[in-house]
């Protein structure tokens, strides 16, 4: 299983803080991005680059080429705005 989590505006747009996916469905971050869809039917892929969304695998920021393996935690979030 892969654990997928969302933060901030993405959490609200997905209406979910995350879910689990079967490992055999995805090989890379880019593959996972293509698989996801917002509740209104928008493909996640179409907003991912456009909104400069970020992704972290096991709490390390990575890019779309990053491979995903069993047990990984994949987090999607907008650019940070703390401080």
């Amino acid at each position: 299983m892969i654990k997928v989590v969302f933060f901030a505006s993405l959490r609200e747009r997905f209406g979910s803080s995350g879910f689990a996916v079967e490992n055999n469905q995805v090989e890379s971050v880019a593959g996972l991005v293509k698989l996801l869809e917002l509740p209104d039917g928008t493909s996640f892929n179409s907003i991912f680059a456009q909104e400069k969304l970020m992704v972290a695998v096991n709490q390390e920021v990575v890019d779309g080429d990053c491979l995903i393996t069993e047990g990984d935690e994949v987090a999607f979030f907008p650019p940070v705005t703390g401080g």
Binding site: A8, S9, T81
Partner: protein, 152 residues
């Protein structure tokens, strides 16, 4: 090096942080602190509150890495970072970064470096509550520019 990083809902005491850093060593000659507060105006719109969320564990790891990078550039004696999450109102403290060093240039630079990277790399997000409802804030280009200027 003394290092303390806290992400918490509770308010904090800058005086207590300051005291701890002073007492970290008799070699401390300079302490620079930065405190960020909730303003009642942002981009000319009235703000009645903020909601802050973060990515637990990842945030703390990012902050430790930022401090490690700072301590490779400047000889630091102590660093304390407190960042609040949850609901805040205008006048509330959001963040405190305090840096103790032997000399002032090091303390100033490291404190600003840590703040600039905290703003662009630490996994915090702010939602602003105003007269027109709620909205998630987006990163300012000026924040990315501020962080980029530290790069070689």
């Amino acid at each position: 090096m003394y290092l303390r990083i806290r992400v918490q809902e509770a308010n904090f005491s800058p005086a207590e942080v300051f005291k701890t850093l002073r007492e970290a060593s008799n070699g401390v000659g300079a302490i620079c602190t930065f405190t960020g507060l909730v303003r009642d105006l942002n981009d000319d719109a009235e703000v009645t509150g903020l909601f802050l969320e973060h990515y637990p564990d990842m945030t703390e790891k990012q902050l430790v890495r930022i401090v490690e990078n700072a301590s490779q550039r400047w000889p630091l004696i102590g660093v304390s970072i407190i960042h609040r999450i949850g609901k805040l109102v205008p006048g509330d403290e959001i963040v405190l970064v305090a840096v103790a060093a032997s000399h002032r240039g090091e303390a100033f630079s490291a404190c600003e470096f840590i703040m600039d990277y905290l703003k662009t790399q630490a996994t915090f997000w702010k939602k602003e509550v105003g007269a027109d409802g709620e909205k998630w804030l987006t990163m300012r280009d000026s924040d990315q520019t501020a962080a980029d200027r530290w790069q070689p």
